[in-house]
């Protein structure tokens, strides 16, 4: 049976129209857009048409403000490093505690190279602490980078306000909009944002294509230094099939943007309300209004997320979790910890993320499958409402860092997932 795919913040299905649009460029139209001959030159026109389509989705003033990249991570890295290089006298970088590793790992790297990094915190609802941000801004700030929408909770930051605050300090503002593009309307003509990152595979284009919007007039330094492609802003022969696919996906997204706000939101609410009605001791993580229409992050008390995911998988349902066992570290997600979600809930968090390809039937099947799964795991669990999780100090044989209330401590100043300090990092060099 076809799986019920509710993990669209991880990646999305390539839309059939998108696949159709890109196929000729994998077959007969393989020319290099930089070539003099018509066989290649014609392809350049398709690249430019894709650029126009993406500019239209973003409401950009001009298609020339779009630089195609290989992924969201490259876009994020490019934007931040560009600002630091363009303003060498400004040695401070401000971001948030809840960014994707595409930004947070870079922040960690920059810190080691001697830059000052500030990571602004969030409140229990996942909303950014604007007071802390204001206090951190200074004439040393080169750039502020804050995500438009959070990949785990869907919480949306007030990016326009953040951009204005950054500008008041003379800094640039970049937003990682990887999760926002295609899900919420964006109109960069009426915006103060200087740079914006997006990634194709989150909006029904394939993996391995991304883009960076750079507002006209913004000082820019390329990250990949090479050929003259992308008007000297990104070296490397263009990923033509990917670019064409992203253009097609952008056009589809623009056509369906209202649907995200209505139909997808209705399905998400049907799922979330259904869970809250059917299962006791559940909380929703993240502000219920200020978030993406497709994302629901819920925590089931007394049970652990990986076990839930595996049983959901058995039932043919794909989702993800912020539990320690799935976060690639031994601690639960840095986002939930930054929000101060109690451990009793953080380990049992599940993220459902929908797309316009989901149906009401699928949601109803999840609502039928999930309650017995949670009930079953709760039967195995030593904890329940009748046997609440005891005081941390009482259960932790050695009085672990979690204080009495079992509230997780704020993540350390440097929230780089510790497991990555082993092997892979050495390998990266």
């Amino acid at each position: 049976m076809k799986p019920i795919y509710l993990d669209n913040n991880a990646t999305t299905a390539v839309a059939p129209e998108v696949l159709e649009a890109m196929l000729p460029f994998l077959r007969e139209r393989y020319g290099n857009p930089s070539s003099i001959h018509a066989f290649g030159g014609d392809v350049a026109r398709d690249v430019e048409r894709a650029r126009e389509r993406l500019a239209a989705l973003l409401g950009a003033e001009s298609p020339t403000e779009i630089v195609f990249t290989s992924c969201g991570t490259e876009s994020d890295n490019t934007a931040i490093l560009s600002a630091l290089e363009a303003y060498p006298d400004r040695r401070q970088f401000i971001t948030t505690r809840v960014e994707h590793p595409a930004v947070l790992s870079l922040a960690h790297h920059l810190e080691r190279k001697g830059y000052e990094v500030v990571r602004v915190g969030v409140d229990r609802d996942g909303l950014l602490d604007l007071v802390e941000l204001r206090a951190a801004l200074s004439p040393r700030t080169a750039i502020v980078s804050a995500m438009w929408a959070n990949n785990e909770t869907g919480v949306v930051f007030p990016v326009e306000e953040l951009a204005r605050m950054a500008h008041e300090a003379g800094a640039l503002f970049h937003t990682d909009a990887v999760q926002a593009v295609g899900k919420i309307p964006i109109d960069l003509r009426r915006s103060a944002i200087d740079m914006l990152s997006l990634s194709g595979h989150k909006l029904h284009a394939p993996k391995g294509i991304g883009a960076l919007y750079v507002r006209r007039g913004t000082k820019f330094r390329p990250f990949l230094i090479g050929g003259h492609q992308e008007r000297n802003r990104r070296g490397g022969t263009e990923n033509v099939p990917g670019i064409v696919a992203l253009g097609a996906a952008a056009e589809l997204a623009l056509r369906h943007i209202q649907e995200e706000q209505t139909a997808v939101r209705a399905l998400r609410d049907r799922l979330e309300n259904g869970i809250l009605e059917r299962i006791p001791d559940v909380i929703v993580n993240g502000h219920r209004e200020r978030r993406l229409p497709n994302t629901s992050n819920v925590s089931f008390e007394f049970v652990e997320g990986e076990a839930i995911l595996l049983l959901l998988d058995q039932a043919g349902i794909c989702a993800s979790s912020g539990s320690a066992c799935t976060s690639g570290s031994l601690e639960p997600s840095h986002v939930l910890r930054a929000m101060g979600v109690p451990f009793t809930f953080a380990h049992g968090s599940i993220r459902f993320s929908l797309s316009r390809y989901n149906t009401a039937e699928e949601i109803d099947r999840v609502l039928a499958e999930l309650p017995p799964i949670i009930a079953r795991l709760r039967e195995i669990s030593p904890f329940s409402r009748a046997h609440p999780v005891p005081d941390c100090a009482a259960t932790c044989p050695t009085g672990c860092r979690g204080p009495k209330s079992c509230t997780p401590p704020a993540p350390p100043e440097d929230p780089d997932p510790p497991r990555r300090r082993f092997g892979p990092q050495h390998r990266r060099r």
Binding site: E304, S323, F343, C400, R427
Partner: protein, 293 residues
Amino acid sequence: MAWNYSEKLKDHFLHPRNVGVLEDADGKGEVGSVACGDALTFYLKTDPQTGRITKATFQTFGCGSAIASASALTEMVIGKTVEEALRITNQDIADYLDGIPQEKMHCSVMGREALEAAVAAMRGEKRAADTHEEGKIVCHCFGVTDRKIERAIRENNLTTVEQVTNYTKAGGGCGTCQAEIEEILNRVLEERRREAPPRPAAAGGARMTQLRKIALIQETIEHEVRPVLQKDGGDIELIDVEGDTVRVSLVGHCAGCMAAGFTTGWIQDKLRELVSDRLTIVIEPPGAAEAQR
């Protein structure tokens, strides 16, 4: 992640045996905590006549392998005397499940601890394993003591900080205690080296296996590893094999090069693939071979 589990582990997760509270238990052991991401309560009942365990049940808050480890342990102890049960190691639990992913080994360690705690409670003893008084806390994120770390190193022949984290979680939180773990590791490894008696040429299967193992290791290094390293202007020397620990030193370009960590991992993978997946590689500083000779 996902189904990186053996069929047997999967089966114990999907159909856990002996779940629940044992009302008439003689002993109950509780370990872990929600803060740390997994917790286990283990119940035991024995026959006063025979001293054998007649019933064992559990309750787990944790991931798939935590549930499966506890379920397996109940099956393993039923029918055994308490003394026999206490001899079960975390590796036995892992073996019973046809293996547990390395990064989940702490689940099997937790099972063994809960069993010990239940036996201690049954005997009216104060719980021995890792209480506050027993040792000093090294990892404050997960409340792991030096005692527990040392024990895991000894019982499982651990040789790297990463392995210690996999088995005890220590060092897997903020990571600030990794240096301290490394110190413990070095101390224990040093002690073991001294403790290990020079082995007489005893006959017997184990000895033969060790000989065969060393021969295979030599062969692998000679034919698989060295040619690749030499291509990059480097070389490798086998210094010693102690149990499952292979001591080598890298020479030429390989020593101290940026990719040393990568090379080490690759060599270990090769040895595990071609000789035994229990092998761990330890890199000695260049010149160690000479010193030893």
